[in-house]
Symmetry: C2
Subunit: 279 residues, 2 copies
């Protein structure tokens, strides 16, 4: 049974996990590993009640929750391998899973690792935005879960207790899926905004833009700082999905005045409706 949890990277996700665990009844210690400034803020907000180094987290805590950017998660995994107790569980909240799983296989052989990707977020970042209900009703992807391990079973039960919905996928399947459902949509939105930036519309032309364009450029406001690691660690599935998508657009361009596009509009509308009627 987890008594002590260490969270590396006490931002929106790490801080929300701490608050959600507390709200779900976890009564042990929750320690943060982060910059002094972030830990001061997290402590003053009551998000954590202790602080430790990454080495201490590995050596003395039951659950090590890595909630940094992907490159930080990869550095942490490499750093903690030799300090970990065999009876601790390591997990992460990175947006891509295969590269992290590979790294865990290499550096964490002696302990349990389960990959995680909570499908939750907010427009604001940082521990000040942390929210005990951030994961409620949201999918929480778990990869490489060894459900014979009591540590893993306990972790999954906490994921349920914080209100999230565990979905088990293998790491490669997760990465191919998010390439289609998240990473390519992000690039489409960014490319749309970038095209408009280069076309230098007049003030009158800008006034023609309607709510459809607002929807299609919301993702474009995302920061490259978040996306750099995602694009780098998932570039092959993204390249493959982008190639499929580009071919589809080329087909659209060739069929603008033919009835061929009717089929595409109909199958696409079916998908859009399905996304909106999921329970």
């Amino acid at each position: 049974v987890f008594q002590r949890i260490a969270i590396a990277g006490v931002g929106l996700i790490g801080g929300s996990f701490a608050l959600a665990m507390r709200k779900a009844g976890f009564s042990g210690t929750i320690a943060g590993v982060s910059s002094t400034r972030t830990l001061d803020e997290a402590e003053s907000l009551g998000v954590i009640d202790a602080r430790c180094t990454l080495e201490q987290a590995a050596a003395e805590y039951d659950l090590v929750y890595l909630a940094q950017p992907i490159s930080g998660i990869l550095r942490s995994i490499e750093a903690i391998g030799k300090f970990l107790r065999p009876d601790s569980l390591v997990t992460d909240a990175g947006s891509t899973k295969a590269v992290i799983a590979d790294s865990a296989r290499k550096w964490l052989r002696s302990c349990k690792f389960i990959g995680g990707h909570p499908m939750a977020g907010k427009e604001s970042r940082g521990v000040a935005s942390a929210d005990a209900d951030l994961f409620r009703g949201r999918t929480y992807v778990l990869t490489g879960a060894d459900l014979e391990s009591p540590l893993t079973v306990e972790f999954v039960s906490w994921i349920e207790r914080i209100g999230a919905i565990p979905v088990f996928l293998d790491a490669e399947e997760h990465d191919r899926t998010v390439a289609l459902t998240s990473h390519v949509p992000q690039l489409l939105s960014t490319a749309l905004g970038a095209m408009l930036a280069e076309r230098e519309l007049s003030d009158g032309q800008w006034k023609v833009a309607g709510p459809g364009l607002t929807d299609m450029t919301r993702l474009a406001m995302s920061s490259y700082e978040i996306w750099r690691d995602i694009l780098e660690t998932n570039h092959e599935p993204i390249e493959s999905a982008l190639t499929f998508y580009i071919d589809k657009l080329i087909g659209f361009r060739e069929n603008l005045t033919s009835q061929q596009l009717r089929v595409e509009f109909e199958s696409s509308a079916d998908v859009a409706r399905r996304l909106r009627t999921r329970v």
Copy 2:
């Protein structure tokens, strides 16, 4: 001064124009030209107070407002030319303007024509969804406006009185602009949904989809019935914008792991923020 207005196509836009004119103080006759069923509904809702044929509209009304699909507008323009009085004004509410302007030049030589495109809509269609405030605060593009003509000046003043914001563009400039701000975004959304339809995701994979994908597929729910005419009458500007966009995506695909994309993310985010801070 307009005493009698005829509206051809009493659906969401035509019906809303009738209600908006009434609310803005127009006290003359508003007649509908449409199917019997639509006119029955429009009359029972108090949207129109008379009905007439297209020939009567041309011969007896001061303002003829064409609010059909684009192909219907083109047919109406051809049909009314020989019946129109020289002191009447014809306008339309079609989503593309150059083909309609060409047709008006050909068939309506003897009377005034002003192209219109109200940037307003709703997810529901039909006269039952008509709304006197549909145009309030929304851009109303006017093309080929002859501001020396008292009829045109009166029409523009009514556009302002119904709460819309007139924006004057020439027809070709309008069409190039909406290719970028509306037609290509529609095709991007449709292509995204169509790609997902072909990838046949499992139930677990569907659960990974987040709110970003919901945003990016909202336009994909649009009906091909509306888009067929738009794509056909604006295919050249759309092809040109799609080519620019496809080249940009190809560039993205080649630079997924390079810092090159930072510039694109930043210029795109600037555009997205600008769209959200317009007055």
